[in-house]
């Protein structure tokens, strides 16, 4: 997933679209908006961006899961199998992105990149709803995909690179 911070206006549509698509209870969220302000009036910079699970290649949440409920599936998506999750919360603590939460039903929940939609050839709900079209989703292994081209042609960053997680969400800057 590639997110263009130069276009995001921080409207939170991705948050509410995810909630309704994935039946996330009110009071919880799988994605969220952050706002960073730098500088002082009138020389200010503002960065708004939508954050979620980074679907890391080297995912601490998968490594620390005692039951194997957290796992990586084909395509690099990190998922949680609810009925294998004992709700110990180790993954929540291990995640440098604070991307997981405990569902009121006990298991740990997080972004799935809307895998159920991907299987149908649809984009994740957040990507498909975004009014600024600042989110892109596709195959990073394919050098001709839109996401690959964006990363080739634009400056980008990942979050918390120091954690060594090899995240798969990229931010254009």
């Amino acid at each position: 997933m590639v997110i263009d911070t130069l276009k995001c206006v921080g409207c939170s549509d991705c948050v509410v679209a995810c909630q309704t698509e994935n039946n996330v209870p009110i009071g919880y969220c799988r994605d969220w908006i952050t706002e960073t302000v730098d500088g002082s009036y009138p020389n200010i910079e503002l960065e708004l961006k939508s954050e979620r699970c980074n679907h890391c290649e080297n995912a601490p949440c998968v490594r620390c899961c005692p039951t194997g409920a957290s796992h990586i599936v084909e395509g690099g998506i990190v998922l949680v199998t609810p009925n294998e999750c004992i709700g110990c919360g180790a993954c929540i603590e291990s995640c440098p992105y604070d991307a997981r939460y405990q569902h009121p039903d006990g298991y740990v929940d997080k972004c799935t990149f809307c895998q159920h939609r991907l299987k149908k050839g649809e984009l994740p709900a957040c990507v498909s709803v975004c009014p600024t079209k600042c989110m892109y989703f596709g195959d990073l292994d394919n050098p001709n995909s839109e996401v690959s081209r964006l990363l080739k042609n634009r400056k980008y960053k990942t979050l918390a690179p120091e954690a060594g997680t090899k995240p798969h969400v990229y931010y254009l800057i």
């Binding site: 130069l6 276009k7 206006v9 921080g10 409207c11 939170s12 549509d13 948050v15 509410v16 679209a17 909630q19 309704t20 698509e21 009110i26 009071g27 919880y28 969220c29 969220w32 908006i33 952050t34 706002e35 302000v37 500088g39 002082s40 009036y41 009138p42 200010i44 503002l46 708004l48 796992h71 599936v73 998922l79 199998t81 609810p82 009925n83 294998e84 999750c85 004992i86 709700g87 919360g89 929540i92 604070d98 939460y101 405990q102 569902h103 009121p104 039903d105 006990g106 298991y107 799935t112 895998q115 159920h116 299987k119 149908k120 709803v129 975004c130 009014p131 600024t132 079209k133 600042c134």
Partner: protein
């Protein structure tokens, strides 16, 4: 702005204890993620899909409501062919399900009653409530004439009631969308181009090379297609110039942010005109061919140099020159955006005129990347008798304001207060779809008027604050549960969209069309409501337009070919503008003849006294007006507003982030509730800022009650635009109180 992670952690910690008890809930998710998907898929398959258009704001994006067989709305997705949203709703549209699912909704008609000397509401049947209302309609007409019954409205329900009121003989109708919002803009552009800007604005943002935003915060206002097109413009490398004393989201996307001193925009625009004319940067062919009054304008702005404007606006002369040149370089693909909420300082029509004139000099009206010639298709009116002619109407009430082209809410409200010179006394009022205690300033005036009214009936879906003043409250069902009129909007090409009910009305709520018809029939106006169900009206209209209910159920939005000609002027085309001169009027003879400045001038506006800060307000992208604060989905994104304070001010006053404060304005109006401080460099040291629409005082709004401050409460002083009657609301000053000024606090 953000969905707080802190809140999330707190809640998840509470949820932890529930693990063992709810372990059985896991079974429904299957044994692995693959089965999990299958379960989700099968749930998704059963959903019914109904065409609608959104009513959470005025943009009215067409959408598909997805509902299950149990009558739950599951999600709402934008209609891909709709030019208002291109398949992408904004957070409010996506969260529109909360308008339906909110358990605080009005459920039954309520009638004010006196129990042991205490005024309260009792639940009533529709029959009883409608009978009382119908009797009031009759008695007001007998005693004072139909004209004395006024309607203040907004949105779709307002349309149905407007029909009822006009049939009854009253055109004493107004809505805050005019005098409290975009009226001055419409007047300013009509005076220049002969036509309103209208909604959606005909700005060709997607193809623009330069977008100039003056106090317009696209991205915080989620005027959907405009937000989308601004994104396209960013992709295309367009220059954005934002003029705003606050570092808005749009400012952060801009090449130039002009951190202007509040209330000085006209001075900046005059200086821009000066540069564009003096340096010969204007579109000479266009100006010569299509405009009138250029020489007068040239003389007028001669002395309004960037150096002159610097002392007023604090914008450096070189920045004024550079941005003017940048606009001219992009010409004619440049948009000086007319904005939307423009009732700021009382000279708002003149400010809109300055914007209109700049666009004229840059040749952007009727040009690609500037403004396109909009077009809509007329929806035929369902057969009904002609309306009677009222003896007086909204025009007479607003007669002091020669360019008022719609009812002025504040004047209609004032007309309810008896006085010797009140020629048009309003005695009863219906309010629908607008929470006037939050949408209209000068609360003291409003309360006085309400006190004088013989009868006030309010129709809404939610127990908004205004319902507390009503004699009768009618629970309308939400847009997801009703038919409404066909949406026909001005756009690049004409299109229509329909709203069909996705689910049955919850509780004992009813659609607005039904309420209008029931009252109409009770007062002998049945001929005006010659149908059993509003579906019949829509079916008839669609048939006239060459389509049908069946087709629209499948497509939701239908497009029609343009008939008015191309979107843009052809090179050298002869074109007559619908003004008196047939040209773009840089100099306005009409304004001159009415005794106003024929060209805009800068007027100095009051500044905050020592210890006070200018109260500025704006929008958050996930809320509309005061309408959505209690919506469970949207409240979850932002549950209260906060007070933006510059760090310098915070240091001087010793304010901390998150500290609760109260505000008191220049008229000693103190906020009922407190607000949390947000210390941020994004706001000037002479101003504070908050998002409009919070601080609800009706306890029945369980999520929104007492959360944040209602900015409108502190807008007790307005600067009235003498041209069209708009109420400028940005001239109120507040002091920040760190101690609770209320002796007893209601909790």
């Amino acid at each position: 702005m953000s969905t707080s992670r802190r809140k999330f952690i707190k809640i998840s910690a509470l949820g932890f204890g529930g693990v063992a008890a709810s372990a059985s809930a896991f079974n429904m998710f299957g044994t692995n993620s693959y089965l999990n998907e299958l379960v989700l898929d099968s749930i998704a398959k059963k959903l019914n899909v109904t065409p609608t258009y959104c009513e959470v704001c005025f943009w009215k994006c067409a959408a598909w409501a997805h509902s299950d067989n149990e009558g739950n709305i599951i999600k709402i997705i934008g209609n891909e062919t709709d030019p208002h949203c291109y398949g992408r709703l904004c957070p409010r549209g996506t969260g529109g399900i909360g308008m339906y699912s909110d358990e605080d909704r009005l459920k039954k008609p309520l009638i004010r009653t006196n129990i042991d000397g205490e005024q309260t509401f009792r639940e009533a049947s529709w029959e009883e409530a409608l009978d009382i209302i119908a009797n009031k309609f009759k008695s007001i007409k007998e005693k004072y004439g139909s004209e004395a019954f006024a309607l203040l409205k907004h949105g779709s329900p307002g349309k149905h009631l407007e029909h009822l009121f006009k049939a009854y003989g009253s055109d004493t109708i107004a809505e805050p969308a005019y005098a409290q919002c975009r009226g001055a803009r419409e007047a300013g552009f009509a005076l220049t181009y002969g036509s309103w800007v209208g909604s959606p604005e005909p700005t060709d943002i997607r193809d623009t090379k330069c977008l100039v935003l003056i106090g317009s915060h696209i991205g915080e206002n989620m005027h959907n297609s405009q937000v989308q097109e601004m994104s396209d413009a960013i992709d295309n490398g367009a220059t954005i110039i934002t003029v705003d004393p606050r570092f808005s989201t749009a400012a952060s996307k801009s090449k130039h942010w002009l951190a202007i001193k509040p209330a000085t925009d006209i001075a900046l625009m005059l200086a821009w005109m000066n540069v564009i004319i003096e340096e010969g940067l204007y579109d000479k062919n266009y100006v010569e061919k299509y405009t009138t009054g250029f020489n007068e304008l040239k003389d007028h702005v001669l002395n309004f140099t960037p150096e002159w404007a610097y002392g007023i606006t604090t914008i450096k002369p070189e920045v004024i020159r550079e941005t003017a040149r940048e606009m001219a370089n992009a010409s004619p693909s440049v948009i000086v955006h007319p904005g939307r909420h423009v009732s700021w300082y009382g000279d708002d029509t003149q400010r809109a005129r300055a914007m209109a004139i700049l666009n004229g000099l840059l040749g952007s009206w009727g040009r690609r990347g500037g403004f396109y010639f909009k077009e809509s298709i007329k929806v035929p009116k369902f057969p009904s008798p002609t309306y009677p002619h009222p003896k007086w109407d909204w025009k007479d009430i607003g007669e002091k304001y020669p360019m008022a082209q719609m009812g002025i809410t504040t004047e209609v409200i004032r007309a309810a207060i008896p006085s010797e010179d009140n020629k048009y006394p309003v005695k009863a009022m219906m309010v629908a779809g607008t929470n006037i205690t939050k949408s209209i300033p000068e609360k003291a005036l409003l309360e006085k008027a309400i006190e004088e009214l013989e009868f006030l009936v309010v129709m809404d879906t939610m127990p908004m604050d205004v319902t507390g003043y009503a004699d009768i409250v009618l629970p309308e069902c939400t847009y997801l549960e009703r038919y409404d009129g066909i949406r026909s909007a001005t756009n690049r090409e004409p299109s229509i969209a329909v709203r069909f009910p996705a689910v049955k009305p919850k509780y004992d709520s009813k659609p607005g069309w039904w309420v209008a018809k029931q009252i109409g029939e009770r007062i002998g106006l049945g001929d005006y409501f010659n149908y059993n169900d509003y579906e019949e009206v829509i079916a008839w209209q669609l048939e006239q337009m060459g389509t049908s209910i069946e087709e629209m159920r499948k497509i939701g939005v239908k497009h029609f070919p343009r008939t008015s000609g191309p979107l843009f002027l052809k090179e050298g085309e002869k074109y007559e503008f619908p003004t008196e001169s047939g040209k773009i009027e840089l100099y306005s003879k009409q304004l001159k003849s009415l005794g106003f400045d024929p060209m805009p001038n800068y007027t100095k506006h009051p500044e905050p006294p020592q210890g006070f800060y200018r109260l500025n307000y704006g929008r958050a992208p996930m809320h509309t007006f005061s309408r959505t604060a209690n919506n469970p989905n949207l409240n979850d994104l932002k549950s209260e507003n906060d007070l933006w304070v510059n760090p310098k001010v915070a240091r001087i006053l010793g304010l901390r982030k998150g500290q609760e404060v109260w505000l008191r304005n220049q008229d000693e109006v103190t906020s009922t509730f407190s607000i949390k401080v947000r210390v941020t460099e994004r706001v000037r040291w002479d101003s504070v800022y908050m998002v409009h629409g919070f601080g609800h005082d009706n306890k029945k709004l369980s999520r929104a009650y007492g959360k944040g401050i209602n900015d409108t409460q502190l807008i007790s002083k307005v600067a009235v635009d003498p041209i069209m009657g708009g109420t400028g609301m940005r001239g109120n000053f507040v002091e920040i109180l760190t101690e609770n000024p209320h002796k007893t606090v209601e909790i």
